[in-house]
Symmetry: C2
DNA sequence: CCTGGCACTCCGGGGTCCTCAGTGCTAATT
DNA sequence: AATTAGCACTGAGGACCCCGGAGTGCCAGG
């Protein structure tokens, strides 16, 4: 049904359309790509491609434009990830090298990815679920309040103020701190709930209320709010594009963090590049965008995702190359921290 | 030169133009505002206003549009800050009340402000320079590394990993921690450099290298990187506006945090509302935007700024009311934390 | 000093025309 | 059977023109 040449035509259509942003006609194709056949032949192939839904005409007597389905085939079978150039790789390395803490690593990564792809970049903070507790700190703040700081081995620091504990006693806090650290430091976060279950019983009754309050906040902050932090950059790059949906819709979608997190999370093939094209994104405002995402992590455990959002008409091989490369470098930097 | 009526005309021009986004003519003014004079008279006034540079015509035979100078006069003398409605105030309160930590307070504040004003909101994290040290924590991470966490009384937590200390000895770290806290906890950040100056001398020589390294990172993180954190929301609201400069330029300007920080920082009258109109913003991309900003803080000490960026054609009284109200509420919440 | 009247200006919407890129079809060629 | 040349057809969009109407500046009279 789709012989080699028809596929070549589809590839050519996608490539030309991405370059020119104009419907591509049979003559232009014959000229620019060495397909070895006449425009008329190409037209016949185009009819076949159109019948199968890979390309479409904006109107009669216009050239063809790839459909979502056409891009999908292109990404799956007609293209390969384009590796970055050596200068680009060096730029990544030097750009990320200077970061002093996790916040800065993430901030630099997202700006870097936006610059490389000239699109909107998204970086998710390393998930808490896969990390383990490095240390728990309790600091009396005066009054009835205590600040809890949890430090994980992925560099993330979670902080919470706990209020209304009744009188806060310095030594009681110290006891609780060392008890907590003995119980859970080094533990994987998933193991924390079990590990602290019977701690309150070991606390003298007069401080049990405080212990319970602290533990409930601890569990809550580690388990419930775990993946929600993401950072964006490069929204200005959207202004150049003209979307089918309004730019406003796209910007609105990008501000809804939960939507982005869900979209990033839906990778089919973990630890590989995922490309979601056009209507494959369930979200209304992102119907005319594509999302290229990848996992990053230390070793072969995935910590979180990074990704790029751009028009469906995007340079897939190049974008995929940039996302993959940046994901790898972030993993390395994180491992070195 | 500018009698009462001319000022009334200018006010009417600004108000109508903000409402309709179309040049306003003399007839429309006479109809909609009870100025008590005929269109012809208004035309004469308009000529005077135009000669003085307060309004301008996009082209002959069009109505008038306020200039930056016109908006400036309007803001300074012709309008008053519009207080929020009771439901709006309640909404603010309930929206901010549920925040559990500083990050969430800031995140909610910026979204709230964006929603209230239907423009781009900016919130700067509480400055470190005005806060004082609550507690310093040092956590050995294994290897040659130590994590330092500084907790301030404004709820901010700064973290840094310090590497290459040679062998890290647990008790040495403990000693250094308690020495540090004795020396600086409770101190205003500005006083920290002096207070730690002679600490290394008190450390046993074999651990002095570590102490020096820790102190230098401490000073660096507190002094050098102090104001740089800001958060944006509501960029989608820009899509509805048509700017003289391209939308892209505006979005780009908004991504340059340093630019925004500088603009927010340039308040004329501290602890008051500041309005910067059009070309008063030195930055190219923001030539056709106005910025309304205010300080927020606890008691009467200012901790940082919040602000709103929108088209020069904005509802100044309403925006100023929202910014002022949100600034006050954030201050209260922060004081309560 | 204000106002009605009037001639003038010019933007913007609507209509028409025309060009031209690109198509689909048919018949000829390989 | 596949490819190609030729050709009539289609529709978007640019150029052009026209015209209505909002709005102006100016003048003369109240």
């Amino acid at each position: 049904m789709l012989d080699e040449r028809k596929l070549a035509v589809l590839r050519a259509v996608v490539e030309d359309f991405v370059n020119t942003n104009e419907p591509v006609g049979s003559r232009a194709l014959a000229d620019r790509h060495r397909l070895g056949v006449s425009p008329a032949t190409i037209r016949n192939d185009m009819v076949a491609l159109e019948e199968d839904g890979y390309i479409a005409q904006p109107h009669t007597s216009a050239g063809r434009v790839p459909t979502d389905k056409g891009y999908r085939l292109f990404v799956d079978r007609l293209s390969s990830v384009k590796p970055l150039s050596a200068p680009e790789r060096r730029a990544i390395e030097s750009f990320l090298a200077g970061a002093v803490d996790l916040d800065e690593i993430v901030a630099r990564t997202v700006r870097l990815l936006a610059q490389l792809t000239r699109q909107v970049a998204i970086v998710q903070y390393p998930s808490l679920t896969r990390s383990s507790v490095q240390h728990v700190e309790l600091v009396p703040l005066g009054g009835q309040r205590v600040m809890m700081v949890v430090i994980t081995d992925t560099g993330r620091v979670e902080q919470r103020v706990i209020d209304g504990l009744g009188e806060v006693n310095g030594t009681a806090v110290n006891d609780l701190r060392s008890m907590l650290n003995r119980a859970i430091s080094g533990l994987h976060l998933g193991e924390v709930p079990d590990a602290v279950e019977d701690l309150p019983a070991q606390v003298p009754p007069e401080h049990r209320q405080m212990a319970v309050a602290v533990l409930s906040v601890l569990l809550e902050s580690l388990v419930e709010r775990h993946e929600e932090k993401i950072v964006l950059a490069g929204t200005a790059n959207l202004a150049a594009v003209d979307f089918a949906a309004s730019l406003r819709d796209v910007l609105e979608a990008l501000e809804e963090n939960m939507v982005l997190i869900r979209l990033l999370g839906e990778a089919k093939d973990p630890s590989m590049l995922t490309v979601r094209i056009g209507a494959e994104n369930f979200h209304e405002g992102l119907r005319s965008t594509s999302i290229v995402s990848a996992d990053y992590g230390v070793g072969n455990q995935s910590l979180a995702k990074i990704g790029v959002v751009g028009p469906t008409r995007m340079d897939y091989p190049g974008t995929m190359g940039a996302v993959r490369a940046v994901a790898r470098y972030v993993g390395q930097i994180l491992a070195g921290q």
